[in-house]
Amino acid sequence: MAKTVEPGDRFAIGITFGNSNSSIAHTIDDKAEVIANEDGDRQIPTILSYVDGDEYSGNQAKAFLVRNPTNTVAYFRDYLGQDFKSIDPTHCHASAHPHNTNGTVSFKLKDQPDADEPSTLSVSEVSTRYLRKLVNSASDYLGEKVTSAVITVPTNFSEKQREALIKAANDADLEVLQLVADPIASVLAYDARQESKVEDKMVVVADFGGTRSDVSVVASRGGMHTILATAHDYEFAGTHLDQVLMDHFAKEFIKKYKTDPRENAKSLAKLKAEAEATKRALSLGSNASFSVESLADGCDFASSINRLRYEMIGRKVFEGFSRLVDGVIKKAGLDVLDIDEVILSGGTSHTPKIASNFRNIFPETTTILAPSTTPTAINPSELQARGAALQASLVQEYDAEDIEQSTHPAVTTVQHISNAIGVISTSEDGEDTFVPIIAPETAVPTRRTIHINAAKDGGDVLVRIAEGGTHIKVTQPEPKPKEEKETDSDDSDDSDFDSDEDDEEETREKVWKIGSTLAEAAVRGVKKGGKVEITINVMADLGVTIQMREVGGKGGVRGTLAKP
């Protein structure tokens, strides 16, 4: 049985336990705040290192990747709950390597002083030790022992991985109130802002981390969230941008000193550490220095790079990010025009180029929530921990049993209507328009109300309720009237080609299509200039009730549609 704590005895926080970095957050007065550890870090590298039996974590442990790589363990989160045969050891190559212990994953670390042989620590044990460190940091900061947490996990975390994570946390004396999906934690963090309204919107959450990129399309409907599609990518992530810079500076180094710093493990580690620092600096400034003492063969190296050059050499990775996002939108059966909001999360999302690329891919109506495009955006590295903390404060007062029952699949699995439901408006020249009332992919039961103008002169009006769908209307640009060319010489091919290029792009717009009619009703005797209120209720069994009345009027019309 998983560890549980009585609600009254709880002190709960939110945790993001990442492959590269972890964060801890709590709430004060319903506001989430990410906590700094004793080193002052809010992004705490998910790394443990043992030196002479002393345990280090976070940035202190990260520093040991250069001097003490074999007793430093990093990038292990994804191994939790996995068999040895299904793990990717790539990112552990520069630190303690994963080992196969009866099919499970373990590390060999000298964690005892004076021991000759390293201990074999399962990934579960390593995780427990790391989580304990995190929780202690939180307890120290908050002045009270943290007992419980909401932890975020990738959407493709399997049941086994979830169980393994809960066990690792329990072993660290931590109750797991709930595991929430990474992208949903980010959405929650934005939802909780004072200025945010409960809206129906289609959101893309793009999480660019250190070793993986995860993108989800989320239908947000009346404050509830449903994931429509996801993509997980291990080929384009933060570490690949490090690699771009490492290669760049390594080549510069080779030119000068005729030796490749990538061929020696220690030089490589130094190169990597500085490349990451340079990369982060380039998110803020337009220029960044790169300098390493004794990079290779005892040669110091100092150089610099500007942001433009960086964006050029990193182009393949940036374009990979864009394709990934585009692909998952298609997978959800949507178009970029359907997306209302893009939330950029994860450390790599600080990179301005990523946001500016998205700005170009999406229409102007899409909000790109990243620091460089939206000044009020939340720090992308803090989103998930904040969301977790908010959820923790929401559920901490419930019994574990209660939480388990509330999050039960029998509760979370519900029908989502595929088409929008709306009313048909008719313009004066007789053209019908679909006016959506309930958005597609809304979970049922649901209820929505709108106010709509009655006919110009009032009187009796027709309310026609129908389903609706969207399609993308593509309009080719008007062919420009060919400039009258003075009987130019025949070989004007080149100039023709040029003019092709500055041809205007086609315009794409989302238009509603009226689907099948659900009902017709009459609202009678509406006064001139009056409005009609329409309320649609879709029940859990997809039966529908519709109510209509003049705004401010009495009575009204009401009817029901049978379930399909």
């Binding site: 793990i87 990717d88 050891p89 790539t90 994963p98 196969n100 959407t155 929430v180 949903i184 309204k197 449903t226 429509l228 996801t230 080929e235 030119k255 990979g320 959820q391 559920v395 999050t407 699949p409 029998a410 509760v411 979370t412 699995t413 519900v414 029908q415 989502h416 209507i417 595929s418 088409n419 439901i421 048909i424 408006s425 008719t426 313009s427 006016v435 979970a443 929505r448 709108i450 709509i452 009655a454 006919a455 110009k456 002169d457 009187g459 027709l462 009619t517 009902a519 017709e520 009703a521 009678r524 409005k531 009609v532 309320t535 879709v538 997809l542 529908v544 009401r558 009817g559 549609l561």
Partner: protein, 445 residues
């Protein structure tokens, strides 16, 4: 939900005659819905959960059932990508990456240019899980990373859209060779060539590429197909076969030399490729029965037109000839008739003339018979005057008057009677204004 949304649209007025029980007419039902999982987070979800649970308790069975109902957005990994690894491939050296089959290295032989980016990523990950040297080391095997490097190289190329095109450009494994004569003898013309062009279509800059079709394709389709391919716009390039450009260490000249050589080689290969495609099209179209059929049909149509035209011409000619003949015949008839008529008139004229002559003789004879109306032997002067008057009368008379006069004088022997006839004739002529009173006195006195 918050306050109702207000929209700036208007409802239509109710059509007259619309009526329904309680003013509400149900028409349809919700047509489509999907079972999905709502994320159990946030205050609105809590409210939902409270309603949905409603003092019920859900069991493990409920969990399983609900999970089975819900549409899964996480796909099961890597299922479809799997093929046996050729042992000789596993021994490859990454240095020879140029000759490596990148798709085979990733286990995507049967997908090749069709492999999606997602498939490549998944295939790569699958290979990494198996071949990462650290895993081999963990399994106590020698830390040999040469094939792993092949995997990395293959992935680097296939995940870079530019490099992938360069490789796909020269990926002969994806080629479908044109069918041999022998293959074609067995039939399957459309299937065999169709496959060739389908593979070739991967190089097309424009899409969709018209398909080869079969013997049921319309003439337009077939013409469209060949037009497209004879004007094929290909992105195929041959950089991939470039010779390595020497490193910075070498002299600039040498570098430039290699670059120029490469540029020329690319151009040449591109030209050869265009020629190859053209020849293929020529070969294919030569054997394409549809073209022959269309040509024959076109010829038949053309012939028919010609024959029709010729027949029409012939008919027209015949008609014209007939018309001409008829015309000439009619003309001849008319001519003959005219001649006849002319002759008849001539005869009649002559007859009339002779009659006139004869009658004139009668007329002159009559005055002679009447002794020129002299009681005694008439003097030559009397004779002259009477004959002169006779000629005057005759000159004023029409032939029928002459004939009439002659008939009246015929047989008369008595001078007075004869004179009586003349007298009346002269009076008639005076009456008609042809003679004046006093003219031809010798006949009328």
């Amino acid at each position: 939900m918050a306050a109702p949304a207000t929209v700036s649209f208007s409802l239509p007025p109710l059509a007259s005659g619309w009526s329904a029980d309680k003013d509400f007419k149900p028409v349809g039902k919700i047509t489509s819905a999907t079972q999905r999982t709502i994320e159990p987070v946030g205050p609105h979800f809590l409210a939902h959960a409270r309603r949905a649970r409603h003092k019920r308790t859900f069991s493990e069975d409920d969990r399983i059932q609900a999970q089975e109902r819900a549409k899964n957005v996480e796909e099961d990994d890597y299922g479809e990508i799997s093929e046996p690894e050729d042992p000789s491939m596993l021994m490859r050296d990454a240095k020879d990456w140029k000759t490596q089959d990148h798709y085979a290295v990733l286990g995507l032989s049967k997908y090749r240019y069709k492999a999606t980016e997602d498939q490549i990523k998944k295939a790569h990950r699958k290979k990494v899980l198996k071949h990462h040297p650290d895993k081999k080391a963990a399994a106590g095997k020698a830390e040999d990373d040469s094939f792993f490097k092949c995997i990395q190289k293959a992935t680097e190329i296939l995940l870079d859209p530019v490099k992938r095109r360069q490789y796909d450009s020269v990926d002969e494994e994806a080629d479908v060779d044109p069918p041999t004569k022998k293959q074609l003898q067995k039939g399957n013309f459309y299937k065999l060539w169709g496959g060739v062009f389908k593979a070739e279509a991967r190089f097309s800059k424009t899409h969709p590429v018209p398909s080869f079709g079969d013997d049921k394709s319309t003439r337009d389709d077939v013409e469209n197909f060949y037009n497209f391919w004879y004007n094929f716009d290909s992105w195929r390039t041959f950089e991939y076969l470039d010779e390595d450009v020497p490193d910075d260490g070498e002299s600039r000249d040498q570098k430039r030399h290699t670059e120029r050589k490469n540029a020329n080689a690319r151009k040449k290969r591109k030209a050869e490729d265009n020629a190859r495609l053209r020849k293929m099209l020529d070969d294919c179209s030569t054997g394409d029965e549809r073209i022959k059929r269309f040509r024959k049909e076109a010829n038949a149509a053309k012939n028919k037109k010609r024959l029709d035209r010729e027949a029409a011409e012939k008919a027209a000619k015949e008609a014209a000839e007939k018309k001409k003949e008829e015309e000439s015949k009619a003309k001849a008839n008319a001519d003959a008739k005219a001649k006849q008529d002319r002759e008849a008139t001539k005869k009649a004229k002559e007859a009339a003339k002779t009659a006139v002559k004869k009658n004139k003789r009668v007329l002159r004879g009559s005055v002679k018979d009447a002794h020129y109306f002299s009681p005694a032997d008439p003097s030559p002067a009397d004779i002259d005057s009477v004959l002169g008057d006779v000629d005057l009368v005759i000159s004023k008379c029409e032939p029928e008057n002459i004939a009439d006069l002659a008939s009246r004088l015929q047989g008369l022997k008595v001078a007075d009677e004869i004179k009586g006839v003349w007298r009346s004739e002269v009076q008639r002529l005076v009456g008609d204004g042809k003679l004046k009173d006093g003219d031809a006195m010798s006949l009328s006195a």
